[in-house]
Structures are given as C-alpha cells and as structure tokens.
Chain length 157, copies 2
C-alpha cells in the first residue's frame, strides 16, 4: 500500500491529488489546487507553491510524489515561468523526504485515457471513473490525480 502525491505544476495554479494504491486497487484521498496571487512578485508566488505542497504533504503524508513534466511550450518565457513553478514543487517534495518521479503529459494521458493526445475533459472523466468520485474534480486537480494514477500503474508493471 502506497500513498502517492500527484502534482501538475503551474505558476498560476498548481494541481495536487493524493491517492492510495493497494496492490493496484486505487482509492481517492484528497485533491485541490494551489492558486498563486497574481498581484504578488513572482518569488512570493513560487513560495506559495512550495508552502502549499509542503502543507499537503504534512496533512496527507504521501511517500512518493509523481510530478508532471512541464509542457514544452513554444514560448520560452512561459517555459521559464513553468519551470520555476515546477522547481518549487519538486524541492518541497524532496525537502519532505519523498521520492520524486517525473511523467510526461503524454505518458500520463496514455496511462489514464489510453492515448497521448486526450482532451482535458477526457482526463477529468477517466479520473472520476477510476477513483469512483461523485463529481469531476477541476481540470488542474484532475491532471494531478492522473499523474498519481499513472505512477500507481507504473508500480504494478
């Protein structure tokens, strides 16, 4: 049995989701979105991501973190912002002693929906089905849960 934290990093909104994988049987623990304050300087927003992930780990005590690799944007400026957000989330996990695993967006979609070009709504739907949720989580939270599910599937293989 393993508690897995999934993270979908973003400078505006970082999704997180915690699941339990018990010999391939998945169950939902928690999910949500860390929203950063757009009016704050960027260093403060990175710190909000670090503190948010830190709090989720303190509360839910996952053993591993599966973090989505940031999207290879064609815009280097947004790639730099996304990269910094991801760095803040990864070090928050590392500082709490979690093992950190990286998954590409394509691999996550393949693992959850069945093919790598799946739309966001399909990811939300499949996350809801796989975790037997009553409602669909928000897009960012669903993406984070999908990364956690992807890691759980890798564990079984």
């Amino acid at each position: 049995m393993e508690r897995i934290l999934g993270v979908d990093p973003g400078s505006r909104a970082t999704g997180y989701g915690v699941i339990i994988s018990d010999r391939g049987r998945l169950s939902f623990v928690a999910c949500g979105v860390i929203k950063t304050t757009p009016t704050l300087p960027f260093a403060h927003r990175l710190n909000q991501i670090f503190n948010g992930i830190n709090e989720v780990i303190q509360v839910h005590q996952p053993a591993v973190a599966a973090v989505e690799d940031v999207f290879l944007s064609t815009n280097p400026r947004s790639a730099l912002k996304l990269g910094q957000a991801r760095g803040a989330a990864v070090v928050a996990a590392m500082q709490n002693g979690l093992a950190v695993f990286d998954y590409s967006p394509k691999l996550v979609k393949q693992g959850v929906v069945g093919y790598g070009q799946a739309a966001k709504a399909q990811v939300q739907h499949m996350v809801r089905v796989l975790l037997e949720l009553k409602g669909a989580p928000s897009s960012d939270a669903a993406d984070a849960l999908a990364v956690a599910i992807c890691h759980a599937n890798q564990l079984r293989l």
Copy 2:
C-alpha cells in the same frame, strides 16, 4: 549596512556571492559554486541547489537575495531546466525570509561593466576590481557577485 546574497542559477552549477553594502561602499564576504551531481535524478539536483543556497544563507545571514533572471534561451528544453533550478534557489531564499529581487543578465552587466553585452571575462575582471579581490572568482561565482553588486547599486539610486 546590508548583507546581499547574489545568485546565478543553473542546473549544473549555481553561483553564489555574499557582499556587504555600507552606504554604497562594497565589501566581499564569500562566494562559491553549488555544483549538482550530473548522475543524480533531476529532482535530487534541484534539492542540492535548495540545500546549497539554504546553507549559504544559514552561514552568512544575508537579508536580501538578488537572483539573476534566467537567460531566455532559444531552446525550450534548457529553459525548462534553468527555470526549475531558479525556482529551487528562489524558494530557498524565500523560506529563509529573505526579500528576493530579480535582475536581468543585461541589467547586471550594465551595472557592473557598463554595458549590457559585456563578455564573461569582463564581468570577472570588474567584480575583482570593485570588491578588491586578490584573484578573479570563477565565472559562475563572479556572475553571482555581479548580481549582488547590481542590487547594491540599485539601493543607492
């Protein structure tokens, strides 16, 4: 009188430099390079950057951090790596309660050498002269000291 930490983030090598600015009079405190282990997974290397900056802050107790904005590379893949390294360094400063300031490479060079397209060797030379060092620091450490000097000059203005 203010203790300023300058940081030049990089995924392989992150330069740092600590100086004191006393009403515009600069003095050298320390400088060095945090080298990450290339064979380790990237999350561990980000954690090495966080821990390295954390240690420098613990030892030298700067009040503010001046962090170079990462170079807008034409390669989005390296921009993502650099971004993550910068994120790790920034949150290390924020977690220690430092105020964090961003400076573009161009502004740093302008402030230290006098023009924005200066070569690395010119930055090394001017840092040595301005801080009255006996030898030139390594390129990464010199860049970090240059960012700290740039911030000190901004304070005076």
